[in-house]
């Protein structure tokens, strides 16, 4: 089973914003939606490795800043006709605390 690590508080991330968690295996982008849900994706667009954490968040999606691919925050899948997938990580809220699953 996975261990949950505390990575910060909900209010550390602006609504419709994103922050990154640096790990030895690369950056993980943590997203907060308008309705205060949180999601975690590898910070790499499946297209040309754009940093998704720098994109515009809308609904449960983020638009990559490099070429406007739209990626689902829920499953990491490229939307529309684009195909590709970004790894997702388990994440949850415990009150205001954001917990990320290690070795997910």
């Amino acid at each position: 089973m996975s261990d949950w690590i505390e990575i910060g508080k909900l209010n550390d991330i602006p609504p419709l914003g994103s922050r990154i968690v640096q790990t030895q295996d690369g950056d993980i982008a943590i997203f907060r939606t308008a309705t205060d849900e949180v999601f975690a994706l590898r910070d790499q667009c499946p297209h040309k490795q754009g940093a998704l954490s720098q994109g515009i968040v809308h609904g449960k999606r983020v638009t990559c800043p490099l070429h406007n691919w739209v990626i689902s925050l829920e499953d990491g899948e490229a939307q529309g006709r684009d195909t590709g997938c970004t790894k997702t990580f388990q994440i949850k809220l415990d009150g205001e605390t954001i917990l990320l699953a290690q070795n997910a």
Partner: protein, 823 residues
């Protein structure tokens, strides 16, 4: 759509399995997939096919399989019941019980019924019209009959010299028949062409081997004892042999069933702007309807109707159908012909005509009230979509009428290998430079996936989906591929897919309804997604900022990353940093500070930009606030090289040093930059000031260009370099330095208030017309001063250096540091 539910109670029955009906179903599945259990009745025994591609099937350029839009598997996947075939034709409808009954007795109840019964070809009731071998050109069965006849028979007669008739005649000719086209007037395609162009078309078709009998009155079709057609005779006594007669003299809305059940009909089934008939449970779309006196025969308007109808079937209730302007092309390979709008002349209109008999080129543009009313092009149709766009937009063409017929003059285009007509490009020519999409990718996708609209092509290929500068080329490719069914006829383009409303609708509402936040706008217009998307959020954020200066709080989450982090993102996710150099001037101290910063932060590339500044490329995001701090300490501020904002004011040295200089262009450039820096604009703005007419600062291809002459300054507007180079229009000449400042400020503000987001000054001017800008800025002093004053007012709130705010004043600091570092 695989996730559609199995048990939906509400039932939608569609009568007609053609393009309009199925497009409505597709649109409905997009917006409300689980609203209805859907059943479709079609009288042809196929899935849904692209009727407009029957001509290429007849010529052998395409197969039936290639023109299928939705095969039977599609109906299964989407859980739609399809009853196809003659025996499934609906013969009874009980409007009280809400049931339909097919010929074979199949009975079904409905909650909503959609009529998409299309049209029937009109058959002239000549004596002999029921003989075997007299057919229409309407469906796959007709095409099969023609192909069969071509194998064994020799003489074909096509009655009707319109679009469809000529396509049929061309196809039969290709299949080896000897073909004569009969037309009742002496102008071919008289609904699309005027006499000179029609004569050129006739000559060209004769050269290919078609025979014509024009201004002809048919008398009788003759047959043999077996009831098979043999000849056709005319009032003038002529008689020609015929083994096959194709009637292509127009279509009539198919309203028999609707009339039978008492739905109000005139020429077609009456519908209102929501596509609803007189029975509120029954809707109708396509060729069977009559909307505000119009009936329809081309596919583009049907698609708009489908979208509106789907919206109301889904009970969203926000779409209205407005009749569309339609353009026509003839799908005969090798013949270039384009026609749009009303090209007939009357006392209120003026014709501009170009005619070169030898080259076979004819162009006519009809203008009324300085706007294009219609156009006919023959032989060279390259600019058809340009005229068409200006016609739809109601563009004022008075300033360009001397050049209008010479076309859009893509002389300065880059990225298309210098070729001017997209049709002449080879398949491997790159159309969309941003996404690396070649012409062949686009044309293949249009054919293979049956794409009709710009959005379809963008989704499928990504062409023109990024910067959009190749949109015109992509539209031309769609127009070429689809011929008479050139789509995207929307006169008002919606801002994005979250809403059907346009940029102007939204700006107007923001001002008039006092909307002061994105949620207020998205709620007012009932956006399909409450927080919008990456297209509308930045646009609306800008509109709010421009409308409510000092009041609206800029929303950084609605900004593209470059404007959020005040640096340009590069392909490896590093950033570039460009400090401002006022008027392109710098000092040894500034250069030293830049050099120090470049070394301190290991900047891999240092480059001089086109805007007379220095670019530090390859800076890591977390280093941005630090490098900004160092540059701030040396007195430098952000150059806004990343924003839809004032970029640079480029200057030449002018009278300070240059022996030709007539004015002090450097000081003027600095003054203009000090006034305009920091302002947000619809798209990037570049300004330049040249000290004499030699124009070394290249001011006449900038958004605003100022050129010194001995007696003062000339002001130019609306130029840009880039993919489509546009030279500025001359606005006016002024004598004092103060006037230059006032005019520049006024132009900035007018553009800020009226430009669409992402629309540079060049397309803005082409949209509103230079004439209008002159009226507001040059001729109306009060207006000019008011624009300038509003600009200065809004500048009060925008001239805080965003770098200093982030480096030293704690703005958005969290954007530049990780939430957590693990391991």
């Amino acid at each position: 759509m695989i996730g559609r539910s199995d048990n939906i109670e509400r039932k939608l029955v569609v009568i007609g399995n053609g393009m309009a009906g199925m497009r409505t179903v597709e649109e409905l599945l997009k917006v409300a997939p689980d609203k209805y259990d859907i059943t479709v009745f079609g009288s042809e025994p196929y899935g849904n096919y692209n009727r407009i591609m029957l001509s290429p099937v007849l010529t052998g350029e395409k197969t039936i399989d290639e023109i299928m839009i939705n095969d039977r598997a599609w109906y299964e996947t989407n859980k739609i019941t399809l009853h196809a075939g003659k025996e499934k034709e609906i013969t009874q409808i009980d409007r009280l019980k809400k049931t339909v009954t097919a010929q074979d007795g199949t009975t079904l109840s409905y909650d909503r019924l959609l009529f998409a019964t299309g049209s029937n070809p009109f058959i002239i009731p000549l004596p002999g019209h029921q003989l075997e071998g007299v057919i229409a050109f309407r469906d796959i069965a007709d095409v099969d009959a023609m192909l069969a006849a071509a194998k064994t028979q020799k003489h074909a007669v096509v009655i009707g010299g319109g679009l469809l008739g000529l396509e049929a005649a061309n196809g039969l000719l290709k299949q080896g028949m000897e073909v004569t086209v009969i037309h009742n007037v002496d102008v071919l395609m008289n609904r699309q062409l005027d006499q000179p162009s029609a004569k050129m078309l006739e000559a060209s078709l004769k050269e290919r081997g078609l025979n014509f009998k024009l201004a002809a009155a048919t008398k009788e079709i003759h047959g043999d004892e077996q009831g098979k057609v043999t000849a056709i005779s005319f009032e003038d006594g002529d008689k020609i042999p015929a083994d096959l007669v194709v009637m292509a003299v127009g279509i009539r809305p198919n309203i028999a069933l609707a009339e039978k059940i008492g739905l109000h009909c005139n020429r077609g089934i009456f519908v209102n702007d929501t596509m609803q008939t007189y029975d509120p449970c029954i809707y109708a779309v396509g060729e069977c309807i009559e909307h505000r006196g119009d009936t329809f025969g081309l596919v583009a308007p049907l698609f708009e109707q489908a979208k509106v109808c789907a919206n109301h079937l889904a009970e969203y209730g926000i779409a209205n159908y407005q009749s569309s302007v339609v353009a026509t092309k003839l799908k005969v390979t090798g013949i270039d012909l384009f026609s749009a709008g009303d090209f007939g002349s009357d006392e209120n209109s003026e014709d501009i005509i170009f005619r070169d008999q030898y080259r076979g080129v004819y162009k006519k543009v009809v203008i009324e009230d300085n706007k294009i009313k219609g156009t006919v092009l023959y032989g060279d149709t390259m600019d058809g979509s340009w005229y068409f766009q200006m016609m739809k937009d109601g563009t004022d063409v008075s300033e360009m009428r001397d050049r209008l017929l010479f076309g859009q003059a893509h002389l300065g285009d880059s990225g298309t290998q210098g070729a001017s007509g997209v049709a002449n490009l080879p398949d491997n020519a790159e159309i969309c430079g941003c996404n690396g999409v070649c012409k062949g990718d686009i044309t293949k996708a249009i054919a293979a996936e049956n794409l009709f609209t710009l959005d379809d092509v963008r989704d499928a290929t990504k062409a023109s989906a990024s910067c959009g500068s190749c949109t015109g080329l992509v539209e031309q490719l769609i127009a070429d591929a689809l011929g008479s069914d050139f789509t995207d006829t929307e006169t008002r383009k919606s801002i994005c897919r979250c809403t059907d409303h346009s940029h102007d609708d939204i700006r107007t509402a923001i001002a008039e309804k006092d909307l002061k936040s994105f949620p207020a706008v998205s709620e007012h217009f009932d956006f399909s997604s409450p927080d919008g998307c990456h297209v509308c959020r930045p646009a609306i954020n800008y509109y709010l900022l421009a409308q409510w200066p000092g009041e609206y709080q800029d929303d950084s989450r609605s900004r593209f990353i470059n404007e959020r982090s005040h640096a340009n993102i590069q392909k490896d996710n590093t950033y570039s940093v460009v400090p401002r150099m006022w008027g392109g001037l710098t000092t040894p101290a500034e250069l030293r500070a830049i050099a120090d910063a470049a070394e301190k932060y290991n900047v891999p590339t240092v480059k001089v930009t086109g805007g007379q500044r220095i670019d530090l490329l390859g800076v890591k995001k977390e280093d941005l606030p630090k490098i900004w701090k160092d540059l701030n300490d040396a007195g430098m501020v952000s150059g806004h090289a990343y924003g839809k904002s004032l970029r640079t004011v480029k200057t030449c040295v002018g009278s300070t040093h240059c022996r030709f200089g007539t004015q002090d262009s450097m000081s003027m450039g600095i003054d203009i930059e000090k006034m305009t820096w920091g302002s947000w604009t619809p798209a990037k703005v570049k300004i330049a000031v040249s000290g004499c007419p030699r124009n070394c600062a290249e001011a006449t291809i900038k958004d605003i260009g100022v050129v010194a002459v001995d007696s003062g300054w000339e002001i130019y507007v609306g130029g840009n370099g880039g993919m489509k180079v546009r030279v500025c229009d001359f606005l006016t000449k002024v004598t004092s330095d103060e006037d230059v400042i006032e005019y520049t400020g006024a132009l900035m503000q007018m553009y800020r208030e009226q430009g669409h987001h992402n629309e540079r000054t060049a397309p803005w001017i082409e949209r509103v017309g230079l004439h209008f800008i002159k009226e507001e800025i040059v001729e109306n002093e009060t207006q000019r001063k008011a624009f300038h004053a509003r600009f200065l007012e809004s500048q009060k709130y925008s001239q805080d250096d965003p770098w200093a705010e982030r480096a030293s004043k704690g703005v958005d600091v969290v954007d530049f540091i990780p939430l957590k570092v693990i391991g």
